[in-house]
């Protein structure tokens, strides 16, 4: 219970809903000096070795870590400023700040699977973020509609984390094999008309398509939500950052998937008139993913104000490639 004592009622609810304590306890078990598990192995980068297979119970602890990082992000967006109950534990039991600062954990979310939200949260808690970022954040949180918008973010996130057909598709996007299928197989099926029917006729691949559909629908909702936050650039940027693993880091993959999908539809239509009917649908999906995957769109103000804290993440996530203006935006002010 110690983590929750100092939170306001709303953030207390968030911490309980996101099961912060149980995820933290699970990750602590791996990091503990008494643990039989080697933390660097459990939380390794699976993509470094093409033959690497992550087995249970490693998967279990990695899921706990992913959900802990998501909880940290949600709390940070909600205004969680600092861990006021540090050092309650003695011995080798670690608190949240120590867990986030642990070198093995930092490698996980800074290098292996770049995720900007916990970086920003950690730096905020250490008061190592630019003052202009903190000031703008505090200004927005005092505005009347801020809590309504924050709760709307929580609605979206609850949907994203619920049991969903999206999860298999997202694993595929993340370069995991799903039921014997890789992202390359999806590309093959969508870019070669003769393979498509067979691919769609298989239960496993159809499930991936349903997951893709669910992800596109979620993306449209997120796009609409973010487009309405003009007076809240920090909140807008925070929420974008929360989902940025899929749209920022994974943005290139998603843009490619949309193009494959649209190409497949064009291949299947009999004439230009029919294709035109669907072009509006394809165009709206393209624009939506385009906006969400552009770090210079929704998160621009956040990246400018918090730039120095997130510059390394932006580089690791590949966001700066081909975007000199982003590099410039995030450069520290002299």
């Amino acid at each position: 219970m110690i983590l929750l004592l100092q939170l306001d009622p709303l953030l207390n609810e968030v911490a309980k809903t996101y099961r912060l304590e149980s995820h933290l306890a699970a990750v602590r078990r791996v990091l503990s000096r008494r643990s039989r598990m080697e933390p660097g192995h459990v939380f390794r980068a699976h993509w470094k070795n093409v033959d690497d297979i992550i087995e249970q119970p490693e998967i279990k602890f990695r899921v706990h870590l992913d959900q802990l990082l998501g909880a940290v992000s949600a709390l940070h967006i909600g205004g969680f400023k600092s861990l006021l109950t540090k050092n309650i534990f003695s011995g080798d039991i670690l608190d949240l700040g120590d867990v986030l600062d642990h070198p093995v954990i930092r490698n996980y979310y800074e290098d292996y699977y770049p995720y900007g939200s916990p970086i920003l949260a950690r730096e905020s808690w250490k008061e190592a973020v630019p003052a202009r970022y903190s000031e703008q954040r505090a200004f927005e949180q005092n505005k009347t509609e801020w809590e309504t918008h924050y709760r709307s973010f929580l609605h979206l996130d609850a949907k994203f984390t619920a049991r969903s057909k999206m999860s298999d598709f997202l694993d595929l996007l993340d370069d995991y094999e799903v039921n014997g299928i890789w992202l390359e197989d999806l590309r093959e099926a969508l870019t070669k008309p003769k393979k498509l029917s067979h691919f769609l006729g298989r239960r496993e691949s159809m499930q991936l398509f349903e997951g893709l559909d669910a992800f596109l629908m979620f993306s449209r909702e997120l796009d609409v939500y973010l487009s309405k936050l003009d007076g809240y650039p920090i909140l807008k940027g925070h929420v974008w950052l929360h989902f940025a693993y899929w749209y920022g880091n994974g943005g290139n993959n998603m843009r490619e998937v949309i193009e494959w999908l649209w190409g497949a539809i064009e291949d299947q239509t009999n004439n230009k008139g029919e294709a035109d009917r669907f072009s509006k649908l394809a165009s709206s999906n393209r624009s939506c993913i385009g906006r969400l995957s552009d770090p210079l769109h929704y998160p621009k103000n956040l990246l400018q104000l918090a730039g120095s804290s997130l510059a390394d993440w932006a580089r690791s996530a590949g966001l700066m490639e081909g975007r000199p203006e982003l590099r410039q935006l995030m450069a520290p002010l002299s």
């Binding site: 809903t17 609605h155 949907k159 049991r163 029917s197 349903e210 669910a214 449209r220 999908l261």
Partner: protein, 265 residues
């Protein structure tokens, strides 16, 4: 705020719940239609409800299911499973309630109000009828409010390729173009076995005294309805027609929010 923050639910797909902090006498369940999603179909209804005092004693669930490929009877079976879990306050539901509102008293719902759109309407009605036939005690508490219900069939079987455009699903478009069977559309062809049985069982249910449960409380269509057949089903009340709305907008507008809130007094 009278409700908890949004909670992911383990039933269906992308289902989200909001639990009343001061206890709940009603379970309010939203069921979407073709290709719709648990929250998106209802255009931000949740934000209106969780702040409204009329909803303060209602637990709210936006239930999601595989509307594109699954047969409606199967979807109804899964919906019934969810309703049973909630209404019977089983272990999983108690756990969900406790996580959202710690220390809360066990839920006993006097009413289960199902608000359904399009395909969701026959799915909800099938689930209700099956629960009544199975003797589930909670079934007597069910009431229905329906937006653009597909009870008498949809026109999509004639316009399969439009499914993607109608539902906003680019994958639905591809499925239709490739010629894949879309079981939910086949089941909603006017005169289908699914719809015929639905009407027959509804009439039987009413004859057996299940009037309040089987007869919808309110039925609403948009003036520009273009996807489902606009006709009176069984002994439902005469439908209301809302000017300026179509199949998708009729359940997203402010009038829809007001209509739902009106049933929560």
């Amino acid at each position: 705020m009278p409700h908890s923050i949004a909670q992911s639910l383990e039933w269906g797909f992308e289902s989200v719940g909001y639990f009343a902090k001061g206890g709940a006498k009603r379970l309010l369940v939203f069921v979407h239609g073709f290709g719709g999603e648990a929250l998106g179909t209802w255009g931000g209804m949740e934000a209106s409800l969780v702040e409204h005092m009329n909803a303060a004693s209602s637990d709210i669930a936006f239930y999601g299911y595989g509307s594109m490929r699954a047969q409606p009877t199967a979807s109804a079976g899964l919906l019934r499973k969810f309703l049973s879990a909630a209404a019977e306050n089983n272990t999983s539901w108690r756990r969900a309630v406790e996580r959202a509102v710690p220390g809360s008293a066990p839920r006993v719902y006097d009413e289960i109000l199902i608000v359904a759109h399009s395909l969701g309407a026959p799915v909800a009605r099938r689930a209700t009828l099956d629960a009544l036939q199975a003797g589930n005690p909670w079934a007597s508490a069910v009431r229905l409010v329906l937006f653009a219900p597909a009870h008498l069939g949809s026109l999509l079987h004639e316009r399969r390729a439009e499914l993607g455009v109608v539902s906003g699903s680019i994958v639905g478009t591809l499925m239709a173009l490739v010629g894949l069977r879309i079981l939910s559309i086949e089941a909603l062809k006017p005169g289908s076995r699914f719809l015929t049985l639905l009407e027959q069982d509804s009439r039987d249910g009413i004859a057996n005294g299940w009037v309040d449960q089987v007869r919808a409380r309110q039925v609403i269509f948009g003036e520009n309805e273009e996807i489902v057949v606009v006709e009176r089903f069984c002994e439902d009340p005469p439908e209301e027609i809302w000017p300026g709305h179509n199949h998708r907008s009729v359940c997203k507008c402010d009038e829809a929010k007001n209509a739902v809130i009106g049933h929560l007094t």
